[in-house]
């Protein structure tokens, strides 16, 4: 399979000035003003739309327009002969994006766009005399649970073993949890990726400050940097790490920005055979009103999916 290519279109400000329309679009939960804007945009630019969500207690299924559907049934939600779809990535999370991309690939949809709205600000809730002034509350943490199709039994030793890539963001708790729950991780070579530059000047400091205590304890560590808004940059890092050395599998934990999560989804789709890539994911429950308004729009167009 030829490597898929990503083309990025970005607006200059919060006005969606990009000339795109779609046959069908999928969107997720409306949690705050930014999500609301994203859903409004998608609805105004698409002929039809579907709401979509994943429940980790019922893996192998998606709920689309309030109907629980298996993977096969999910394909039926793409209108017949669809030429273009949009996946609204501000409101959808990793598993929905993965499943929808996989469906789009199987159905050979010609144009697949992922839409993302950068926030002007994030909620910073801990405002009492807390020492952890940089801690953000973007989600309630959850347990790392596999996503069928992208899960491997990590208790089975793997010949030539494993390397690990983690994208890191504002919530230091997520890396802490990964290290606590996936103990096999201790022995793997690790690459951590920070979103630098951040969406706005100074934002990268939060990701660094909130993760540094844990990162400093990791052994066999490589630190990489990639623009927080860059899908292509993150995908490039994943491909490079994956092609280095003779490791049997690459385990990815997308705990950072949404563009990095999108890159992870594309990477997993691209390398899903023989369990050579694996996802570890904590299914965060996003907090309501977690972010402010839209700062800027991005459309990531996937070619050769």
């Amino acid at each position: 399979m030829a490597d898929m290519r990503i083309r990025t279109y970005s607006s200059d400000d919060d006005q969606f000035s990009l000339p795109f329309n779609w046959d069908h679009a999928f969107y997720g939960k409306d949690l705050d003003d930014r999500c609301h804007s994203a859903i409004d945009l998608i609805k105004s630019r698409s002929k039809t739309t579907s709401n979509c969500r994943y429940d980790s207690e019922n893996p192998r299924f998606l709920t689309i327009d309030e109907v629980v559907r298996s993977r096969k049934q999910t394909a039926n939600c793409f209108p017949k002969g669809t030429a273009s779809i949009a996946i609204e990535a501000t409101t959808l999370d990793l598993v929905e994006i993965l499943e929808l991309l996989r469906c789009a690939m199987e159905l050979r949809v010609p144009t697949v766009d992922l839409v993302y709205a950068e926030p002007v600000s994030y909620q910073r809730p801990i405002n009492f005399d807390s020492p952890w002034l940089r801690e953000f509350s973007l989600s309630q943490n959850r347990r790392f649970e596999g996503v069928p199709g992208f899960v491997t039994d990590l208790s089975v030793p793997c010949e030539n073993d494993t390397r690990f890539v983690a994208f890191l963001g504002y919530e230091g708790a997520r890396l802490e949890q990964a290290c606590e729950q996936v103990d096999a991780l201790t022995g793997w070579p690790k690459t951590v990726v920070f979103g630098i530059p951040g969406y706005a000047p100074g934002w990268e400091i939060n990701a660094l400050a909130n993760n540094v205590a844990k990162v400093a304890t990791l052994e066999q560590l490589t630190v990489r940097y990639c623009s927080a808004a860059s899908v292509t940059g993150a995908l490039d890092i994943l491909r490079r790490v994956h092609n280095q050395g003779s490791y049997a599998r690459t385990v990815v934990a997308p705990l950072g920005t949404k563009p990095h999560t999108i890159a992870t989804a594309l990477f997993l789709i691209e390398n899903s055979s023989f369990q050579e890539t694996t996802l570890i994911w904590d299914h965060p429950t996003k907090s309501e009103n977690r972010s402010g308004a839209v700062r800027r729009w991005h459309v990531f167009r996937v070619r050769d999916l």
């Binding site: 893996p59 009492f128 491997t152 201790t186």
Partner: protein, 648 residues
Amino acid sequence: MTDKASNAFAKNRAEELGFDLWGDFVVPPFFHKLALDEVRKPLLIEGGRGCGKTTLLRYLSHQTQLSTRRNLTADSLPKQIGLYLRADTQFLRTFRGAAQNEENWQKIFEHALCLMILGELLAAVELLGTGADRKEVFGDVHALKLPCLRDFGDDAPGEFSDARHWVRSQHNYLASWLQNSDTANRPRLLPLKPVLLAVITLLREQLPCLNEVVFFVFVDEYENLLGYQMKLINTLLKHSEPPLIFHVAAKRNAMSERSTIGSEQLQEPDDYRHIDIEELLLDDFELFAAELFCFRLLKKGIRLKESPVTDQMLCDEAQVTRRFTDTNYGDAVKGAVAAFLPGISNEEIAEYVFKDPTLREQLAKGIGKALENFDRSLKAAAFMREDVPMASICVLALLNQGKQPRDLLNELDKLEAGKPSKFRTTDWIHHYFLGTIFYLYLPLQRPCIAYAGFSTFLKLSRCNVRHFLELCHVSMQSHEGSIERGYVEVTDQAQAARVASALFVKETQGSGDFGNRLFLIVNTLGQIFRLSQQRPSQSEAERTHFAIVDGIPSEDAQDILRECIKWSVLIAVKETKVKDVRLATNDYILNPIYAPYFGISYNKGRKLEMSAAFIDALLVGDRASLDQLVKSYKKQWDVIVSDQISLL
């Protein structure tokens, strides 16, 4: 300091030590209480994160017991061989959902469990036959036949040498099928006990050395399994008997499921024995910690002066009783470590305050300010007596409690003259000294020297091996030349305590499903106790625990409280000093490892009584409620906060 020495304490998680711990495991004082040779009843091994559960299980497992580093003879072959299981729970938790009904999921889980145990069993036997010497003693394991496997799978091999590969391929097929269960063919599911018992029977027939051996299956991190998976394990516990006995390890309060697959419930003590590692360590932790300290250095080729330990002695099960009954030995080991991690007495702390210009100024300012409420003609200097520095420091608290300055001067005079004084007779020094010391340090950016010393490290770590080792690790890294000099400076130890404490505060974020919430609770409680510490009167000195009064917290709050105990964020002890007529329940102590970070005491001082409504706000309230909670205490205690804890 050599690189070797600085790294002696770096590895403090079981996962970092590997599986073969032969010669690397200090046999703990409670080892014989496990009575593994005699009792054939399952164990529930409990304890907080970092207390040593996993290390113990790995020591008991075949990788260590049959280690190639061990000279194994027919006589020394262990009577029980452990098969250690730490399932990948992120994988096992995908065994659910509408794709299968619960009965099927249970069979699929049983199949996966069977493959894991079978894989371990075969690996154990292979280890038994590793090397020419062992082949001679125990027989040629590679010539073993396992035709019974064919009863459970058409493609199963009949030869031992092919069996491990078959198990792995079955495992891979299961994983692959679970990825796309709607398209691929379902694997033939193995029934756990029939398969394992059939294999053990055949192994015993062909390897007589295994005739008396019992296989122990250790299921670690039981609490991470799904409910129906716990039920299956419970069923296996209930019906455990030689040659296959199941044991589980879990965090405290984590055995939430007692039912089995049938209608029976798991009952203690009929079905299992409960072992609490931290409780068992309580009496001997000081010596055990000292031994660990010496052992880690010995492993790096460094022997502490006056330390009588040898690594052979610490790793020998037969020496445990001697180690923990010979007081000369114990005193020598503890003394050697105490000399390397010297503490500082209260008297010395007081002298240090008087010598340190900043602290002295802080004290003088505090006394001067308190005097403003009384007699402005009196000066702070009159109360700062270098001959009785501890009492002088307590004056700060006593003036703020409203004690008359002239009375205090009188008591100071008596003390200086060697006469009975209230500073001693009514325990003023005992009650207020340490609290006032923490108070003096709070506005400063440097850690309090009271956090230094081996005995203080023991209090901070409270039977938690990992916390103790981390305190040692950071101390050893703090300054070059500790080994050559033979001790770590008090100030370096205090700084290390603060650094390690901050790491553990941050680490609470990784504490299970509610890690973020637990992190907030630690920070909120830490702030509240810090506010209490910031009251100059110290009338409620060294507050580090609370009790719940006026009602019962909501069920959600009780769930979080259990989670706090499970992850050792809070330590529950039977309540003491109950005021009024209410019934005693529990005291909840903030884990002392967090004390240096917040600048509070590691002692269980005065209690904070919190209403059930406050507890609800603390445990399940939103961010605004937490904020409000801290503000309400600040207002209630009239604390002026001029300082802020610095970022890491």
